[in-house]
Assembly symmetry: C2
Homo-oligomer: 202 residues x 2
DNA sequence: AAACGTACGGAGACAGTCTCCGTTTTGTCA
DNA sequence: TGACAAAACGGAGACTGTCTCCGTACGTTT
């Protein structure tokens, strides 16, 4: 019995698992090309399956997105550990973590929108992921605050939302001469303490 | 040719003018209720006209929005003048102007999205409006920079985009205990100089 | 009041979302 | 292995929203 967690459940059909993986592959590429608002039926067609199959696996666009981001979650988790181990400076660690989240949030064009929505309607499959990131952000933030490197009144949720907002704006910023990360820098200037700020300006 | 100031243009039909005004009235209310992604055909139906008439007056959703915001543009312009006359402190003036834009950008739910899009595709009817606001923001910003109250490397376009981003995030922030204006404050801390910042913290 | 041109209205083509249900595939057990 | 039941598939089609085309109605001009 060791190793058998089977509660009288059937083993899932192999075609189901294969379809699921295939859908994720196709969706990953399709969303990369067309942004996250691309047609779901088109994804089904490209995957060679019917719309019904797609919707059975992923009832909503958010569910599909959540599954796609799952893989990247692990990647970000690894990055988090790396930062915590290698970076002894708490403010730098927080900055690196926010940068990492910013990159994660721009994995697909238009991604910040459903992420923000997930913060409000917590029935979204993305809500859990967001919550985890907020918790991690809070950990980094509190460390920086203990060291007097971040303003004490700032909260992790606000920073997460700020990162989302900066990523949202980035697609418009790119069209201009200003760096796409201009808002990320503004944001950093926002959470840092004056001492921290003066250091960055030097 | 001589003496004719008329460009050979006919005077517009009265029913056309009336329809236009009526559409704007209805759209204003409808967008207030359903956000800017509400159905255009529904607006036409509520206005008692056919879809064709709506689209003849306003070929795109952006054109309709631009017309709706026109009235508020005047209002904001008045506010700009009031700030310039009454507020002698350049940093406070900039802060007030950004606040005013933030309110303007949340006139309808979802408004920041097309505004950001207008910054990229300048064929949008909203692009002209945005450009004007960026120019005004630059004027306030430069005054504050001259007084050493705003960081010299910040640009008006970035601040405008930042205000949009903060307004975009505000709808998610409201659901939480954190103030909806938390990001606006973060943004202000971002553009202010350290001296300015210390003052706000006191 | 007749003629002219502008504007109206809505039918309908098109695209996307999502569901229902008959058909096919798969796993299980004799 | 064969047969049965459960699971999954696929696509037709209902529904919603966008946008256009063109016959009709109306306002303006002479």
């Amino acid at each position: 019995m060791a190793g058998s967690t089977n509660d009288g459940e059937r083993k899932p059909r192999t075609d189901k698992q294969r379809n699921r993986a295939h859908i994720l592959d196709v969706a990953e590429q399709y969303f990369s090309e067309h942004g996250i608002t691309g047609s779901l039926d088109a994804i089904a067609k490209r995957a060679g399956i019917g719309p019904g199959t797609l919707y059975r696996h992923f009832p909503t666009r958010e569910a599909l997105l959540a599954a796609l981001l799952q893989a990247r979650d692990d990647e970000l988790e690894a990055r988090r550990k790396a930062i915590q181990e290698q970076e002894s400076d708490s403010a730098a660690a927080l900055a690196q973590w926010l940068t990492a989240m910013g990159q994660w949030a721009t994995a697909f064009d238009g991604l910040p929108e459903p992420l923000r929505a997930a913060l409000v309607e917590d029935k979204s499959p993305l809500a859990l992921t967001c919550q985890g990131f907020i918790t991690t952000t809070d950990a980094f933030l509190r460390a920086a605050q203990r060291d007097g490197r971040a303003r004490p009144e700032v909260r992790g949720r606000e920073l997460f939302l700020g990162v989302l907002a900066a990523s949202w704006a980035a697609s418009a910023a790119m069209a201009d001469e200003s760096s796409p990360s201009a808002l990320h820098h503004l944001l950093q200037a926002g959470w840092a303490t004056p001492a921290e700020r003066a250091e960055h300006l030097s």
